[in-house]
């Protein structure tokens, strides 16, 4: 094989590196930021036709940003571990002058004037924007086949879905098109695609990462966070985008610690509560076995694990659903009244039903949220972390009539959405069909550091996160 014929393989090897390894190679001059960006662009060009993970690829801008990063690093200007790192943004995140469609006909031509805070922060950290990724319509209605762009596919098998709503971000990171992407999460939209695509996805604490410039889904439940292959990469990306934003009313002014420094590899002093009753009768047998095996690994590493009982999963899901349904309608009510035909059918169903939720229902759901959150937080008197299943089943088949959101299994992600706690999904096995399975780790508010520490320790002891899908 000639060097030219071998070039794609060499570039792909580059994309197998961790974010820290990429940074080291750039700083020692072995590669440039342009090499990295070009490797991403080439891989997207070769394979994304089968996965639909990107709506927009910002090639020229990426190469320009990469050239700046290379020059800065050569001149001793080092913006930190995200400098020169290629990344993608979910398309509900505003980017000035770049299509920000939320994957909807409603916003098919929308070019924002200003970028979201999270985009600005990542670029200020030296990140190189490769493009904007597909999503469920407005981060909730999907997977849909009646939108201007097709739904994303699963990199482990394109006949299956990648989960959602951050479907393109999950698929793009899983396919190694980019090492890092931003997703948004209202009930599990970072963690579900992370679980389905075999990657690590962190929903930070409510208020930790700014949502200014991110299209709202449910104001009181919306989060924004990193999706990467490893927990270590997650720590790098979170460090680059976390922090108080006075322009986001939900943002909370808490110091941002050094997340990388928290990754000690040890879990010996940690007390973990295992919420097994949320998944033992709801999840597939393969998921139950994989999560139990992952818990055994944590025990083997020295963590103290005790099974705990919380309120039934359905209580969290009911409270979250009532809140979301009401808030979602308030976001879209004008379009729903004036141009309902321009929504995809799945989103339209979920939006218009919110018109029927009474104000009293909403307030009662918010009172229930307070009660459930108080009881959940009480466990942190005895435990440092909670673990449970990341998702109840492997990926669903990609069939236009084969997916009914209202009939899905209960969502193990929603308790952490409702309570605002940080929660991390990491791969912990594969199904018999070769589709990824996932473990979920939740922590105290603003203690992402401990959540990441446990996830990283698990990944140092296992290799599920290193598995690579064979793209056609």
């Amino acid at each position: 094989m000639s060097a030219i014929e071998d070039a794609p393989r060499i570039a792909d090897t580059l994309l197998d590196c961790s974010v820290l390894e990429m940074g080291r190679l750039m700083r020692e001059g072995t590669i440039s930021a342009e090499d990295l960006a070009q490797a991403c662009l080439d891989r997207i060009e070769r394979h994304d036709g089968a996965l639909n993970s990107f709506i927009t690829v910002t090639k020229e801008r990426a190469l320009d940003q990469a050239a700046v990063a290379t020059r800065e690093l050569a001149n001793g200007i080092d913006r930190g571990p995200f400098h020169g790192i290629p990344f993608a943004l979910k398309d509900n995140v505003d980017t000035a002058g770049i299509l920000s469609s939320s994957h909807s006909k409603i916003f098919e031509q929308r070019l924002p004037q200003e970028s979201a805070t999270v985009a600005t922060k990542l670029e200020a950290a030296g990140g190189v924007l490769i493009g904007k990724t597909s999503t469920f319509e407005f981060a909730i209605g999907g997977p849909s086949w009646d939108l201007p762009w097709p739904p994303a596919r699963n990199p482990w098998n394109p006949d299956y879905l990648p989960g959602g709503s951050s479907s393109g971000s999950g698929a793009a990171v899983g396919a190694r098109f980019v090492p890092a992407a931003i997703g948004t999460d209202t009930g599990g939209s970072i963690r579900w695609p992370a679980a389905m695509c075999g990657i690590s996805g962190l929903k930070p604490t409510y208020g930790r990462v700014s949502r200014r410039g991110v299209h709202p889904n449910t104001f009181s439940l919306d989060h924004c966070g990193p999706m990467t292959r490893s927990v270590e990469d997650c720590a790098v990306m979170l460090g680059a985008c976390a922090g108080h934003d006075p322009r986001d009313p939900g943002s909370i002014d808490e110091p941002v610690p050094d997340y990388l420094a928290a990754l000690t590899g040890s879990v010996k002093d940690l007390r973990i509560g295992l919420v097994r009753h949320w998944y033992e009768d709801e999840a597939t047998e393969e998921v139950v076995d994989a999560v139990d095996a992952a818990v055994a690994v944590l025990r083997g590493l020295g963590a103290s694990v005790e099974t705990v009982t919380l309120d039934p999963l359905r209580d969290y899901v009911d409270a979250k659903t009532a809140i979301s349904t009401a808030e979602l309608f308030s976001v879209h009510e004008q379009d729903m009244r004036e141009r309902p035909q321009d929504f995809g059918k799945l989103l339209r169903s979920r939006v218009m039903v919110g018109a029927l939720v009474r104000a009293e229902d909403y307030v009662q759901a918010m009172r229930w949220r307070a009660e459930l959150t108080t009881r959940t937080m009480a466990l942190f008197g005895r435990f440092d972390l909670l673990v449970t299943a990341g998702w109840m089943a492997p990926a669903d088949p990609a069939e236009p009539d084969g997916f009914d959101f209202f009939k899905k299994r209960q969502l193990a992600t929603m308790p952490f959405s409702l309570t605002g706690m940080p929660a991390l999904n990491i791969p912990c096995g594969f199904s018999s069909k070769g589709l990824p399975l996932s473990l979920q780790i939740g922590g105290r508010p603003f203690d992402e550091a401990t959540v990441l520490r446990v996830g990283d320790a698990y990944q140092r002891a296992t290799d599920w996160h290193l598995a690579k899908p064979a793209l056609s």
């Binding site: 009181s220 006075p246 322009r247 009313p249 359905r314 899901v317 009911d318 409270a319 659903t321 009532a322 349904t325 009510e333 729903m336 009244r337 309902p340 059918k345 339209r348 169903s349 979920r350 218009m352 039903v353 018109a355 029927l356 939720v357 009474r358 229902d361 307030v363 009662q364 759901a365 918010m366 009172r367 229930w368 949220r369 307070a370 009660e371 959150t373 209202f406 009939k407």
Partner: protein, 72 residues
């Protein structure tokens, strides 16, 4: 705490009234979509916990400082 208010599932006629009150002017096809969606959401609303102590606060905090002008 009581759990079922309203006690009975809404009829199609009642759903039509609720939709009209919400300002939705739906085609017959869209009305069918609404009826189908509501059949999944209504049980959730019926399961909401009610009958709380009068002073039980919702998970809602209003901090007026959040709405002061921001110096950019």
């Amino acid at each position: 705490m009581s759990k079922t208010v309203p006690p009975e599932p809404a009829t199609r006629e009642e759903i039509a009234v609720l939709a009209k009150n919400a300002g939705l002017n739906l085609t017959p096809e869209l009305f069918e979509e609404l009826v189908e969606a509501y059949s999944h959401v209504e049980p959730t609303l019926m399961r909401l916990r009610r009958g709380r102590d009068r002073a039980d606060e919702p998970a809602h905090v209003f901090d007026p400082r959040k709405f002061m002008p921001v110096q950019v």
